[in-house]
Symmetry: D4
Subunit: 248 residues, 8 copies
């Protein structure tokens, strides 16, 4: 609850230009809007600078289409992550401008192009199996208006491939590094650049990888200083964080 | 290896102004300086924008004093984390300007004041037991020249205490949120601000806290978008990352 | 074995009004009734105040229908949790008054309406994905006669949504708070009310959520005092406990 | 923020009997009181029905004595958990009426005797090694005014010992059952009574007990319905929850 | 290699009644018989007192039928565990006397009835969901000739059901106790009898049961002395061990 | 509660030879004897065939001496496990015939020599570091009157050492096999004998041994049929179980 | 970057026989070749002595066929691991000489027969269920030209089967030992030979095997010195390592 | 049991030149030598090519000195790992030529210099905290006669330091790479050389390093092919394996 707004309501209330009931309602309205089965966070963009995103897993195509339309009707852009092609078909029936990002399994609908930052987000993968997670990150960053530079398949077992891309990496303002298995790539990258590095462990691997745990622990324990780690396979979180940083 | 420098060496070599042996040595010199028991990363500041930091744990007071003096002799600032008072006494014998940060268990020696960013880093704790980790973060951020605003003891079981500090939190450009036990505070904070939030789990708690694991998993699984998580008790990493972001 | 009953049997036995064999049998009858493949706990309602509940998982539709009919024939109410629609169809063929609760995946058959407590149980969810577990809790509480107030989708990343429902929450005599991911919501709620709070972790989430472990550990480690925690996804247990408390 | 109070402030503000600045301050005062290194939750008793408790671990005797005196000066009762005898000596120097509970490692100072509930809390242990945790629970319940009935050393490997205490157990309105090792006792007790059972796993055991994990998992997975589980060794939480329930 | 046999071979070799090559072959024959893709342990019954058992999981119906026939041709009895009905159909086509145990998912073929011990093995379950594992144990014990007494559904949340079967339990010479969830039943049983108790954790349960881990840890940590624990769901191992003990 | 005794009490009650109050008391006396801080299981030997054993850990020397004297006064033998030399000194002051087993850290006091079984228990170790656990097992078995044959340091990395002891191993009626690290020895032994094998994992090892977890999991997962596994370092449990089996 | 090559380029550059741009490009070419979606490691064979291998999991048949053809066009041999029969059919349509290894689930295409080492790699399994992993190891070793000797089904529960193969085992220069469940076989083998032993844990087993974790921990904790352990089910890694050693 | 020796004994027995008893004893003597509290593996060097090594942890200085003297008396070299300085002092009192390796915490006594391989073992560390483990590996390799080349402090966060040592790394025939934290260094090294790489995880790190688990999982999950992994902190195992390979 920002101070100035509260003071204004009280001033209006005090001056009689705002009825007592209305004043109480407005103060409460900073706090909620009840839609029965869900509670819309209408205040979210003002508070956090980014509109609501729809997490597609566990939702039916119909539910997803409803939510996208609702946002669209309010003139807002929509991003759906972990969305199946079936969900996209349902959305497309209502919003013909929606777009499906196959590898990222994401739907986007852009009604208002966000003002772009002029600086780039790099999305780097250790192997081709990490691409779905990396694309979720890249599509998210692009959804919020960030130029994205993709650098693929430069894992640490062939370190020269990485070194050859140093210039491209150093041009980015924020770097997202996506790796499964032992998850060593972010440590190497963070030792080569002077920008924030977001490390995304993926569930790529088997056996002692434990579905991404090996990569996650490795990134948290990194000998490189100041890695920003997100959850296993959380490409969306990485793209969202990169946007928050790149817009500073 | 940055392109321009390489081209220059080759041009000099080609024009005869640089001997063949010397050219090979210089190219290799981008790569190392061997000091026997350790390998100095002289190139680190150019690459990553921040000088070497000394991790004090497992090192003797003498070793720490040696390392601080070495940096000092090169005119560099020094930060030692996880340093005992004994280590500080050893350092003080040689560097009378060194300073000990009791709660953070850190030593700093500032020979050149870094150009400050004008924007603030907020360091927020859930409880007073989280202070040592929070101070390690704050001291690190200050070491690199960032103004720090400390907000203490605003854990989620008394949520109104947090809401009362909203204005202070929203003034920061980067927020570090330090919490043990269930580690819920970063989720709440990230829903209230539009700036990057760095979440630091601490080992405060017992039983099912498992030395910080509960807080770590909670922060990684947060329903708030885009938290940047670091290792358990890693105040240094959080402060370092905050500086990297705040200097953008 | 309650004292008074035992003394009475012994008195009757001593006075000769009860045969020796019959007395021994009656004492044993406090202890069991053998039905071959299972052992009916006929004494359960007297001991624990609540009739037997059928856990539907791993049982065939026929088995479930048999069990419901058996309870119905004894004039008892029946609750089946984790029941598929197939199981409900089998039950409906025999008990036309049975009712299916889709989201909760539960079957109820109410022959005798239990005397209601006049006080309310609140069932609160962090997100819409937590609804199946929350509904299992709500249906269970209602099955035992408790009025239930549902408050949905008020997770901690939009804390104002929660604060807006404070009055509703404070009207309840017992609160069930259902949350997946980091499971922070019960900590916040428990800091706002003076009634018992039952925390239910759900398996909603991915990666470091580890199927509900992150939420479970968070609730057990909560900085809020006195949370009552139940197993992951155990909506039934929460509803049952809420009834036990609300009937005090 | 309770509705009525807010409306009153606004009414006073509107009528001119309350200055605009003062009104804003009062609304904010629902939310905090800043003491520098910590943030006093003065509103806690109104919100949650129970005054602040001091967690003694990690605090110096001086800090603990300061906090107890502060509460005492405000006429409030004080409970310190996980307190050493050194801490008690420091407290005793200032508050001669303070009392130390050796087994529970707790300090209490009672300035105002709370109105007692007339119903009893039973605290039951599986073995004598569980006594420290059980006493923390019992002392906490007594601190809040609850009569406590202790039933010790009735673990499941000698089940007849437990059955012999059935009458005592059934007289309680809330039961706290404390057990380490396999933690089976709460399951057995919950099958014998019709009151809420709070299960407290302890770290008693070795090897596959994993510091209380075996008991914790067993209690969460219990075949008995509706156990309320708290953290490993969390006697305080159990006592606090028992009080919340017993006061309904 | 038993001493007497070796001495005999050497004596025969020395006396010339056994050729040198043949003597070496016979000594080696104590050690192996190579069948290409597998290595038959022909010596097993002499060494361990029990013939080979076929673990059906991961084997095709044809492979299982081959193995049963091979044993049958040698006049040996056959037991196949974790066998599907398809596997049984394949076996039945060749061995019309084979029998399928539906709940246990086991196939038996008895060509020679083993000499029975006169003492009984009790197989006790906590709940009906534990039956498949219990039946695997019972069928295995019966396969080796042991009389088995089944006592079902006597879990600890209705402890009187268990006490009513005490006489039956005390008649057994070895007891197998099968339980999932918190796995407390073996602890209670072991406190009531003076015979060996074999504890079998099952994967029955959800959430914090972790597929039988809660029950396994509980049984290993039991406060009852001297439980013999086997792997999760390992009914075969329990039945095999019971036979080894009962034949002493 | 054994049937015959109950019938007798009822018969006496019915015939008037036993007063009603006394009859109820006697039935209850099957169930308990309350000593305030602990609840003596006087019925234990009748039920389980073995007297109470004192677990020394967490108990003071005085408490241990009290308990040994109490047993001694009742003419019972006493075994204290995990007992320090200090505890033994306290016991010796009162019971001059008590004996301390250094390696096993156990105290025994034998007032009545138990009737020996004529068959032997073998206690086998993989390495010399496993001796303390093995001795706890051996001393326990001997305390209950079993002849024990110790076979030491025959781990699987020098398999011929084990094979050379085959005759000794085959003479035992029950075998206890104690091993840390990978815990493979019981699997090998169980493949060579036709008697029950009790596997005891020890905490010997480091790193991926995880304090005995590697050995524990290995023994539970053994390819050998029918291992009886006990808790990590639980020599007492193994010796107790061996006695229960050997007395059959 | 090998010194001699670098010096040569610089010499040519200095002498004018190599243009400056070309020299920089060649130096960079040590480091990468960008193919858009992936980054070919053309330098790999020179650096590590073994050509690229295709990990088939997560790749479509078309992608696999493309990659095999690309290698084939360059005259290189191709090995695809974790390949389905569908993948093989796609490859066969283009490369009629390709061969499918059913049990190993591997595809090989050999254009140039590698010069064989004259020494043998032994691949030993504990049970028949370990064959798929063992065959992946054997096929990999053979792909690189190593003679392989397979020894199957010699697990530790029938130790004499293993001893009978000692001569065969001792003829190998490197031994790969594949085992699931408790994974004890490598420990026994390593105590019998004087050659490097590579231990491969498999996911064979259930319950406390935890998908190969028991075997993995056992091998890492082995009492035998100097086992080389690889990931669970990683037959390829074992075969690759065996080749690296055998070629020394 | 090697074939030729057995045939010879049998031939001698058959020809009468060897008494029957003596023949049986000799065959058994392949299998053991019993020293009471331990079982000497006299056959070990013949079987595995390396003499016995003493693991110093858990042994008293006296015991260690006894064992070293025993080996010395037999003219054998001695290596003691995890040995304290106190242990060394005890050894030195008897064997003045013994040598203590401070960082490695190892004692060596060399009576016969082993014939050296002419090829080198490289021991590489990620950071200076990894030195104790690396030195244990280096001292072990040197004990067996291998020339060792140490390369220190070349962790992946400053990758150019590593690249500068490529020539030195490529001169080795076997490489041991020691790393804690995320343990990424072996992956990078294995991508740069064509020789076997032995990966040693260390317990250096905190929080999510979990005492070396993060490094261990990372090395097992490495994207580099064919790493040979040993237990956490197992420098000895790595040095032993390197010797076994280097002597091929």
């Amino acid at each position: 609850m920002k101070g100035a707004e509260l003071e204004q309501i009280l001033a209006d209330c005090s001056s009689g230009s705002l009825a007592l009931d209305e004043a109480a309602a407005r103060i409460r309205a900073f706090f909620f809007q009840d839609l029965g089965h869900s509670t819309l966070d209408t205040d979210r963009e003002r508070r956090t600078g980014a509109a609501e995103v729809i997490y597609g897993q566990h939702k039916t195509p119909e539910q997803i289409a409803d939510l996208v339309s609702a946002l669209s009707d309010n003139g807002q852009n929509a991003l759906v992550t972990r969305a199946s092609r079936q969900a996209f078909d349902a959305v497309l029936g209502r919003e013909p401008e929606a777009r499906y990002h196959e590898t990222a399994a994401a739907i986007t609908l852009t009604r208002t192009v966000p003002p772009p930052p002029h600086t780039t987000v790099a999305v780097i993968t250790a192997g081709t199996s990490d691409l779905p997670v990396a694309e979720e990150a890249a599509v998210t960053a692009e959804f919020y208006g960030n130029p994205v530079n993709r650098i693929n398949d430069v894992g640490v077992s062939g370190i020269h491939r990485l070194l050859a891309r140093l210039d491209a990496m150093r041009e980015a303002r924020v770097l997202i590094v996506v790796a499964g298995m032992e998850g060593a790539l972010p440590s190497v990258v963070a030792g080569l650049v002077d920008k924030p590095v977001i490390a995304v462990p993926t569930s790529v691997g088997y056996g002692a990888s434990f579905g991404g745990v090996a990569a996650l622990l490795g990134m948290l324990s990194s000998c490189a200083s100041g890695l920003a780690v997100v959850n296993i396979d959380n490409g969306f979180g990485a793209g969202y964080l990169a946007n928050t940083i790149n817009r500073l």
